[in-house]
């Protein structure tokens, strides 16, 4: 399939056969003036001129262009041109350029030379802008209730193309039909000044739409505000409710309520001005103090004042032990109780020759290496053990035969596992992650999809189905209550019924429920969690962003010990990204409610247990976070951090460069793997620390 067409023939070394055909007019050249040209003119071309000078075309349309050539003296020539458009966005069609996709692209125009011609042909590379298709219709909607005289409401305009697609972030010009009755700002907020009938106008690319509003008097006597709690801690979400009451004592459900707050700090010197978030009546404070939350509709308002205290959750963290790995980079790990009743951990390695290590962690202060296994791989990225402890999975990347697959370990002797089988059926791509359950294994294949594998006989696994979202790239999968949640970069979170049954799915017949994209498009890891304190069901989804380009703190991505001959080695890496917390209590209507974002570092793997988040935050170390209660805003700024542990190791693979990969709470302790220093065991001390 050709994605680009040519005018004339390419190159400075035309094949004789092609030359004859061109001169005889036999090649199917597109019908431009240039096709009348001759190869003999080619070597004399000094300058190519294109009209129009700035090429702009709408998506789905073709813009005509004229190409002319001149010699050194400015004389016009008629060479044979070749034109090629950047294939992802434009193509040469007939006498012009066709826009395939909105964006900025380039067009290459070259003069063809006859065989044997010396020197390079004249050529030019031009920018081409492809605009969105023309707008066909616009919809205007209120975001805040009904507009009454004396109130203001924000409106939104949605613009659609002829094919039904929606223009992302359209540039809207707002106006109103009668400025004496109403006014509108550039953001679509309309203020109604008097009673009457007014039209609100939105214009996008010259296309207009109107919405007529009847500006009635505001039938409001007062607003009563109630709060779910009157005294809370920072980070606690308070649900405020406003009752808009008419003079007759009834309620006005479509009153345009706006929320705001007044903050009275305990110490006006150290506290910031913006101390809380209030959205749709849900309020959360980041700092202690007294807050008055106000609901307003036009000239009428009501308020409620609450007290917010410091959350006081910080606890000291104690290092128990380390299973040091300083000669290879460590990847993921899993800690578990073996079938012999002792406690074990398995760690993988990254870019290091396919090793996995097995540790006895029954005494966390005395972590003992019991065995290792080397598989044909450069990276054992992910290691996990089935809930029943029967088998473990080592995922392979960089196998010498490029048939990567997953290695299944028989864990009958947890201290000295043996390979049950190397399973690569349908898994020849690099296998990045796996999620083993007692009966089925969910295993990624080459970033494309995941397979569901029957593990009844671990020596004879059998693939029963696969899940592949077209055009999506997958990185992680986790299963909870018969539903698989996968992290798929730009696609976001993908929810698949693999046995829950609500949507008729089973492991043999997985049913895709929905997808939920997240801001930034870097969805890397997921962790489903039923919150103990509320019963709500959340997906914690993490970004992975390496390098911090565009941040004030930029940085590189070194992965190697110091080598004076290789630039950048021996330094810590730099990452970015955060945890998105999405409420899946209604699985068909997920809603992002909060985030955990430490600005100078980047997230990796996630674990939540007992309403505590154990977040591996790469160079930010292990972060232990209180995630109890309703969640809103950025948990980092709400005093919810319980502890931070940075696994510095002066003799690590890269010295003193914490790069925390994963963390798991286990039997009262916390285990974590760190890329530069191996396996660690730490413990939170029971009593809260005293905050200075």
């Amino acid at each position: 399939m050709k994605t680009s067409r040519s005018i004339g023939v390419r190159g400075d070394r035309c094949a004789p056969v092609a030359l004859v055909l061109i001169l005889a007019g036999l090649l199917p050249l597109p019908g431009t003036a240039q096709q009348q040209g001759t190869l003999a003119d080619g070597p004399r071309v000094e300058r190519i001129e294109v009209s129009p000078a700035e090429i702009t075309v709408r998506m789905g349309e073709t813009a005509p262009i004229t190409v002319r050539a001149f010699d050194a003296e400015g004389g016009a020539l008629e060479p044979v041109f070749m034109m090629r458009g950047e294939q992802r966005g434009i193509e040469v069609e007939g006498e012009g350029i066709r826009g395939l996709r909105a964006g900025e692209y380039r067009l290459v125009i070259t003069v063809a030379l006859p065989p044997g011609a010396q020197g390079d042909p004249a050529e030019t590379v031009l920018p081409v802008e492809v605009l969105w298709p023309a707008i066909e219709r616009i919809e205007i909607e209120s975001l805040e209730g009904r507009l009454f005289a004396g109130t203001d409401v924000r409106y939104r305009a949605r613009a659609f193309h002829a094919d039904g697609s929606e223009r992302p972030s359209p540039e809207v010009r707002w106006s109103v039909s009668d400025p004496a009755l109403a006014s509108v700002d550039p953001f679509g907020r309309v203020a109604a000044h008097a009673e009457g009938r007014v039209r609100i106008v939105a214009e996008v690319d010259g296309v207009r739409a109107e919405r007529e509003e009847e500006l009635a008097p505001l039938p409001l006597a007062r607003i009563e505000v109630s709060a779910s709690k009157d005294q809370v801690r920072t980070g606690d979400v308070v649900e405020f409710e406003a009752r808009a009451l008419t003079p007759e004592g009834g309620t006005l459900p479509d009153a345009p309520i706006q929320w705001s707050y007044l903050y009275m700090p305990d110490d006006s010197i150290v506290e910031p001005g913006a101390a809380a978030v209030v959205r749709d009546g849900r309020f959360v404070a980041q700092f202690p103090g007294v807050y008055t939350v106000r609901a307003t509709a036009g000239p009428v308002s009501g308020f409620r004042t609450i007290r917010v205290d410091s959350r006081q959750v910080v606890r000291r963290i104690e290092t128990l032990g380390q299973g040091r790995v300083s000669h290879r980079r460590t990847s993921d790990f899993w800690v578990f109780e073996g079938v012999d009743g002792r406690d074990y951990a398995v760690t993988g390695t990254w870019g290091s020759g396919g090793f996995a290590y097995f540790w006895d962690v029954t005494e966390p202060a005395n972590i003992v290496l019991t065995d290792s296994i080397q598989v044909d791989a450069r990276t054992v990225n992910d290691v996990k053990v089935s809930p029943d402890g029967r088998y473990a999975t080592l995922t392979r990347e960089g196998a010498s035969d490029r048939r990567n697959g997953v290695v299944i370990l028989d864990m009958a002797n947890p201290a000295h596992p043996v390979i049950a089988v190397e399973y690569d059926d349908g898994l020849t791509g690099g296998v990045h992650n796996a999620y083993p359950l007692d009966d089925y294994l969910y295993v990624l294949s080459g970033g494309e999809k995941y397979l569901i594998v029957d593990m009844e006989d671990i020596y004879n696994p059998r693939t029963v189905s696969e899940v592949n979202i077209p055009g999506s790239r997958i990185h992680d999968v986790w299963v909870h209550d018969g539903i698989a949640y996968s992290a798929e970069w730009q696609t976001g979170i993908v929810q698949v019924d693999v046995g829950n049954g609500r949507w008729g799915g089973s492991p043999e017949n997985p049913v895709v429920v929905n997808t939920y994209p997240l801001p930034g498009g870097r969805t890397h890891a997921v962790f489903p969690y039923v919150q103990e304190s509320t019963g709500r069901f959340y997906i914690f989804a993490g970004d992975e962003i390496i390098g911090r380009r565009g941040y004030a703190l930029e940085g590189g991505n070194n992965r190697a010990p110091y080598d004076p001959d290789v630039p950048g080695t021996g330094t810590p890496r730099n990452t970015a990204g955060y945890i998105h917390i999405v409420d899946y209590t209604d699985p068909e209507n997920p809603k992002k409610v909060a985030r955990y974002h430490v600005p100078e570092y980047g997230t990796h793997n996630i674990w939540v247990e007992d309403d505590i988040l154990y977040q591996a935050y790469y160079e930010g170390g292990l972060r232990v976070v209180d995630v109890s209660g309703l969640l809103q805003g950025n948990l980092y700024t709400q005093g919810r951090e319980i502890a931070v542990f940075k696994p510095n190791d002066p003799v690590g693979y890269v010295h003193n460069a914490p790069t925390t990969w994963s963390a798991m709470p286990f039997k009262g302790n916390i285990f974590l793997s760190d890329a530069n220093s191996g396996l660690w065991a730490v413990r939170l001390q029971p009593e809260p620390a005293r905050i200075p």
Partner: protein, 399 residues
């Protein structure tokens, strides 16, 4: 029969070129670039009177930091294909992984400085070829980790770094090389047993040759192979070779194609059938067939048209075939396993062979003397040495 020919050729070689002479260090100084797919490095190797060593290492992460690309690598980027343009000023490198697709990188030869932002191509861009004028780069989107569906050859304008075409060819295209006249490009289809010729003027497939063992013949230019949607394996009477799932199981599994300097023939490495095919370009048919060691992978011909050099991926060695007679002159073991690419010095004196290694073994660049056919040096490089390309040769006393 074949073993006896090899032994005879090797005996003759020993008589003509004493081993002591072979061990001598070269008088000239040679430099090659080689990728390390599992270390995310591009190395420059120097080989001269002082021996051979890694002269420079360029981490892919350092290239990202020079670029304006917001994306930075999260996993292995996997440098796979390496080429130096015929003018010697630019090093081209493909990286196989990305979000989601791999890239083509353009570096200044010598300094390793990034010359332009990388351009995103298709799934796992692998081997690449540069047109003789250095103005066009043809990259095989190998799609190593994807579904068994037809992939493509990307055509990139070198100066502007503009991907002007993505030509769908077949399943797992590999071994991109450009004809000496610049008007045609060749690649092989590992899973469809095809040799594909692209017309560089029309940017479309001009000819296809089916390479299934014993069934070689011309195909329709529109035939995307056995894994194209709706394709019936019976179309090619290749029903005996279908694997489970109804997919065709390649019998040749071509991994590389190399035109000769005159532009009259190409050689194709049949990795599965242990053969090297010589294809007559005018007649578009198999002209000669060479039996090789196990798993021929890459092939190149010395500038003096004397020797075909073949890497044996599964055979852990390099085979040197006399081009005129077709007789194997030598079959030498490499210093480690999984043999990959070939770079030949312009004086036809040395072959630089990249060897991947397995697991924690370092990759290697083994250097073979093309007179004695002995390995004279072996340079450890990053994990999984991959594509390799010759950059420069300095004569003794030269600047």
């Amino acid at each position: 029969m074949r073993l006896r020919a090899v032994l005879l050729a090797m005996a003759a070689t020993l008589l003509l070129a004493p081993a002591a002479a072979a061990a001598q260090a070269p008088e000239a100084t040679y430099r090659v670039y080689v990728g390390a797919e599992s270390a995310d490095f591009l190395h420059r190797i120097v080989f001269g009177p002082e021996g051979a060593r890694v002269e420079a290492t360029i981490p892919v992460s350092a290239l990202y930091e020079q670029s304006g690309v917001p994306e930075l690598l999260t996993e292995h980027e996997a440098p796979h294909g390496v080429a130096v343009d015929p003018q010697g000023g630019v090093v081209w490198m493909t990286t196989g992984h990305g979000l989601p697709d791999g890239k083509l990188w353009k570096l200044e030869a010598g300094t390793g400085r990034l010359l332009a932002d990388p351009v995103s191509l298709g799934r796992f861009p692998a081997s690449l070829g540069v047109s003789p004028d250095g103005r066009w780069v043809y990259v095989a989107n190998f799609n190593l980790h994807g579904e068994m569906t037809p992939s493509s050859i990307s055509v990139v304008h070198a100066e502007g770094m503009v991907e002007v075409a993505r030509i769908e060819t077949c399943t797992m295209p590999h071994g991109s090389r450009v004809h000496p006249d610049g008007m045609r490009q060749y690649s092989a289809c590992m899973m469809d047993d095809q040799l594909v010729e692209i017309d560089a003027g029309e940017l479309g497939v001009a000819r296809r040759l089916f390479l299934g063992v014993g069934e070689e013949r011309a195909l329709d230019p529109d035939d995307l192979g056995f894994h194209a949607p709706g394709h019936d394996a019976h179309d090619h009477d290749a029903h005996d070779h279908r694997a489970h799932g109804g997919h065709y199981r390649a019998t040749c599994s071509p991994t590389w194609v190399q035109p000769d300097h005159a532009g009259t023939r190409v050689w194709v490495a049949c990795n599965r059938s242990d053969q090297l095919l010589e294809i007559d370009l005018e007649r578009w048919e198999v002209a000669r067939r060479f039996e090789t060691g196990r798993g021929p992978y890459n092939v190149d011909v010395t500038p003096d048209d004397r020797i075909l050099v073949v890497t044996l991926k599964q055979g852990d060695g390099v085979e040197f075939i006399d081009l005129e007679t077709g007789v194997t002159r030598a079959l030498e073991e490499t210093s480690t396993r999984v043999v990959h690419g070939i770079a030949l010095s312009p004086d036809s004196r040395y072959a630089f062979i990249s060897v991947e290694g397995i697991g924690a073994e370092p990759g290697k660049v083994d250097i073979f003397d093309l007179r004695s056919f002995t390995r004279v040096e072996s340079v450890p490089v990053g994990l999984q040495a991959s594509g390799i390309a010759f950059w420069s040769m300095e004569e003794p006393g030269g600047e």
